[in-house]
């Protein structure tokens, strides 16, 4: 179906189902219970899961397949955001104008930056992309103020032209009248589920992005990209020119980043230079590695885990901790809270850092490898073989005749 084989179709359908059910799945704890802290089914966060999922999926096409590690992809995020906000300012709040522009603009910039950066490989390539991204950041922050509104960030003002804005049209981002901010809340017993337009808009695009990347992974183009990572010398002596392949991968992943940036501005009509900072570029690298480089699901998973920790762990303050550990004897309680303090609230980075280290050291294949190992363990226990050729243990080396 859809140009995919049976296994991939099943995979895609599972992803679609999970994405659609996210507002329910991320809300496992009843409202008002002690664990409601850990619910993540609110619009703002779910939108971020989808958007950073797209960012990471695109990044993985470059980094996961070719092995070229870009430290400058946040630049495209910013370009995407600025494009969308400009369309709000000039035309109106329908995101239909801004998003295609975001993809095109980031594609053009990626072509330029990629063309130059790909003259080098390895660490030099990474440094070049980093330099370009920092340059873009500085340009956006100061030099290009007329376009980016510098420090303040680009936003829509009442005196902007907005030539297409109708009298009855929504005054916030929408897609042909479907207003992103709007949600409907559904109460089921003690549970509250929020179904937000913005999330579903991002989710549908994320699924398309995922599908596209699945097709790329299975295509001859995807095979060439993996070949580049594996042995560029052999590729050249096989009659293939690695340069245009890597450049195409760079541009495609830049366009994914631009789309993600555009979606950020579609949820919240703002664009600021800080989106282009190197920390943002680094974040997508972490997401991809944490989830599993070169796997389909890994980057999405990594994006989810990091965004979850950023939003949920950072909200756990002393008060919450007292609530949890209140049953302990006082001395012990203070001690436990003292320790926990390092890992939650403002210090959530410590937790994510530790998690990252544990994964890199023990699961070089990322969280996906963790999942595969657990699956393999269960399969072994049941004593049946895994029919999935991808996950089949490597055949033992053939004994030399």
């Amino acid at each position: 179906m859809l140009g995919l084989n049976k296994k991939d179709t099943r995979f895609l359908l599972i992803v679609v189902a999970l994405t659609m059910a996210t507002p329910i799945l991320l809300q496992p704890f009843p409202e008002g219970s002690g664990l409601a802290q850990f619910n993540a089914g609110y619009p703002d966060l779910m939108q971020r899961f989808a958007i950073f999922g797209i960012f990471a999926i695109g990044f993985n096409i470059l980094f996961g397949l070719t092995g070229y590690l870009s430290f400058g992809h946040a630049a495209f995020l910013g370009i995407g955001s600025y494009s969308v906000v400009w369309m709000y300012k000039l035309l109106d709040y329908n995101v239909i104008y801004g998003l295609p522009l975001a993809i095109v603009m980031s594609g053009i910039f990626a072509l330029l930056i990629g063309y130059i950066s790909l003259r080098r490989s390895g660490i030099y390539f990474s440094i070049l992309t980093l330099a370009f991204a920092q340059m873009s950041f500085n340009l956006a922050y100061s030099v290009l103020t007329p376009i980016t509104n510098g420090e303040t960030g680009l936003q829509v003002y009442t005196n902007d032209p907005q030539v297409l804005l109708g009298a009855t049209e929504p005054r916030s981002p929408h897609f042909f009248g479907i207003v992103m901010n709007n949600s409907s809340k559904v109460n089921v017993g003690d549970w509250v589920f929020t179904f937000n337009n913005g999330y579903y808009f991002c989710a549908v695009i994320a699924i398309l992005a995922f599908y596209l990347s699945l097709r790329i992974f299975r295509s001859p183009f995807g095979l060439m990209l993996r070949a580049i990572k594996s042995n560029q010398q052999r590729l050249n002596y096989t009659g293939l020119n690695a340069r245009p392949y890597t450049l195409a991968a760079f541009v495609i992943s830049g366009m994914y980043a631009g789309l993600a940036g555009g979606l950020m501005a579609s949820m919240d009509p703002l664009a600021g230079a800080e989106r282009m900072q190197w920390t943002a570029s680094g974040e997508v690298v972490l997401m991809t590695i944490l989830g599993g480089v070169g796997t389909m699901m890994g980057p999405v998973l990594g994006a989810g885990v990091i965004k979850y920790m950023e939003n949920i762990f950072s909200k756990i303050n002393d008060q919450v901790l007292h609530g949890w550990f209140g049953w302990m004897p006082d001395g012990l309680e203070d001690f436990v809270i003292g320790i926990s303090h390092f890992f939650v609230g403002k210090s959530w980075h410590l937790t994510s850092g530790l998690l990252f280290m544990i994964v890199v050291i023990f699961l070089p294949g990322g969280l996906v490898e963790g999942g595969q190992r657990i699956r393999a363990m269960f399969a072994k226990k049941r004593g049946d073989d895994d029919d999935d050729p991808k996950h089949q243990p490597k055949q033992a080396p053939h004994v030399a005749e």
């Binding site: 001859p220 993996r226 009659g239 293939l240 053939h398 004994v399």
Partner: protein
């Protein structure tokens, strides 16, 4: 006029004259062996044919066109494939994927953005790759991870990858090094078979004289960067200069 014409090729590495003044003509549809002691410059010479090295002097013409200054992928697209002294394969991919890459390169050229087709739907190429794997006796290993194979298998895979491109000229740098006797004989048979089935020219570097004399129609002996003699296998066998070069006696 040979399919490969090498004239006055010289290459210097710092103080070392790796190639002196090499003249060589490989005739179409022959197996031409280049032999010589270690460090004679055989691999260096091959590197000059495929764009890995650019000689300091001289010219290398393939099929009437100069290969000098062209990049490796352009030279391959002209019809030269090469098997390396240490097998160069895509070790992160499985055997079948390794085979598909040269198939695409042959059909689609140096670059094509075919991002949506699905590799497994390319029935014609899949069949071609599988047929080649049958020919080299590796079809049962087609889903094996290339990195986990024995050295002999890696070599066979590399050879299959080159052969599936149906090159006009196949360059083989010690194709049987590191192989067990049985594997060596299989390789000889395979190359003979390929030779019978297709119009192909081979230039082969080899230390194993059994291989050389089983396959070669012409032999060039290289020593210290210069060809000593070029002749038929029969004449080379008893040639005093060759024995001298191999026994390392001073001239």
């Amino acid at each position: 006029m040979g399919i490969l014409e090498v004239k006055g090729v010289g290459k210097r590495f710092g103080g070392l004259q790796a190639l002196g003044d090499v003249n060589l003509s490989v005739q179409q549809n022959t197996v031409h062996a280049i032999i010589g002691p270690n460090g004679a410059g055989k691999s260096t010479l091959l590197n000059c044919f495929v764009g890995k090295l650019i000689p300091d002097t001289g010219s290398v013409m393939f099929d009437g066109q100069s290969v000098l200054g062209r990049s490796p992928h352009e030279i391959n697209q002209m019809g030269i494939s090469r098997v390396f002294q240490t097998p160069e394969i895509f070790s992160d991919l499985n055997v079948m994927e390794n085979m598909m890459i040269p198939c695409f390169a042959k059909r689609d050229g140096a670059f094509r953005l075919h991002a949506f087709e699905g590799v497994e739907n390319e029935k014609e190429l899949v069949e071609k790759a599988e047929q080649m794997l049958i020919d080299v006796n590796m079809i049962d290993k087609r889903f094996m991870h290339a990195a986990s194979m024995s050295r002999g298998d890696k070599r066979r895979l590399e050879m299959a990858m080159c052969l599936v491109q149906e090159p006009k000229l196949l360059l083989l740098d010690e194709p049987t090094a590191g192989m067990a006797r049985a594997d060596t004989n299989n390789t000889i048979d395979l190359l003979k078979e390929i030779k019978e089935k297709r119009d192909i020219t081979m230039a082969i570097i080899e230390h194993d004289m059994h291989v050389v004399f089983s396959l070669a129609e012409r032999i060039t002996v290289l020593a210290q960067g210069t060809p000593l003699v070029e002749d038929t296998p029969e004449n080379i066998k008893g040639h005093p200069k060759v024995r001298e070069a191999y026994l390392g006696e001073a001239h």
